[in-house]
Assembly symmetry: C2
Amino acid sequence: MRSARSLSSDRPVVADKREAILRAAIRVFAHNGYFSSKVADIASAAGVADGTVYLYFKSKEEILHSIFDRSMEEAIAAGRAQLEQTTDPREKLRRIALLHLERLGDDRDLAVVFQVELRGSTKFMEEFSAAGFAEYLKLIRSTFEEGQRAGVFRPELNAKVVAKILFGALDEMATNWILSKRRYKLAPMADQVLDIFLNGVSAK
Amino acid sequence: MRSARSLSSDRPVVADKREAILRAAIRVFAHNGYFSSKVADIASAAGVADGTVYLYFKSKEEILHSIFDRSMEEAIAAGRAQLEQTTDPREKLRRIALLHLERLGDDRDLAVVFQVELRGSTKFMEEFSAAGFAEYLKLIRSTFEEGQRAGVFRPELNAKVVAKILFGALDEMATNWILSKRRYKLAPMADQVLDIFLNGVSAK
DNA sequence: TGCAAAAATGAGTGGCGGTTCATTTAGCAC
DNA sequence: GTGCTAAATGAACCGCCACTCATTTTTGCA
């Protein structure tokens, strides 16, 4: 039973099922936490048998990795695309920040995985940090340096530290939003953060 | 064997052993992560038998809670004490920030537990957030509001958001410091953060 | 329609580790 | 020394769950 559309697609059913499992995993991890989530839960949420999960992923841990890798790749690509839209460094940072919070704000489950589940062990943190996080920080940093060269930002500031400050502030907005019972829009917070941030780093 | 100093102290040997287990747990959690740490590891690191741990703590989870509770209580008390040393709101925030990074910088293992292990599940996060974190944020926030009333800080800013920004920036400094292979002093970062932050929030 | 290969299934298993508790040891008063 | 209590011990238990694999189902082609 079930609509098994298989002809006409060059990528086989594989992609669909892999995708279904990843989506299910995001949902399950977000609700129960990575360590409390059972592979069986993910399987049933995805509508497949337990064993099927292992046809697409080597282990439970690899599922978490895949979620991170895919999302981070998308986020960085989207960020890069935004940067091409403008040349003003201030505006570039504004777009990065907005995009950052928009993406998380649009998918609460994914946001929970990113803000909470991925932070839960030094082992993960180190791997993830090495992978995508560092690149993301570098994106912010080089944009800032560009602004320094253009004379827009205070030249004496350490760009690495500045990047961490902006990232940290946005990160805290996201984490707070997840934990908050009161529902509000996340993306608009970007403006408030940037107001203070740009005011703090701009050359007078 | 062992020096069993028991007379003269009103609190019995209990406190010593509880303390030993807590310290051992911080070390073990920091090195292996909360979920990978075995109670047996903590016990042997503390120099006691497995079962002894359960004479002082109801469960493995309660150990983590106790670490958080005790440290947070100390941190907030220390923060309050600092606030009494000065009346200038700018200086107050500077001292809070410095203290924040000093405390984490002085005890890397505790810092790992705070920055990484405690963030690993929504369940923990919600409990901890409700408990001490919220109070800490409030400390920052009310100091900022005091500065607004004094005309030192921009009056149109939302104090809650401002508090999160400062906290987020400091938090990111701490997390980065833990994950960094290069060893540097954490506390001095406070000045760089505050430079930008105060510049961003001060009334001109 | 038949048939081989690929995909999917889900019951079973093996190991792990948090917790318990019967037993041992230490502390102390007389 | 003797007896009593509190503290400490650590072997064993037991529930859990990631992962395996023998079997079944689906697919795609002739």
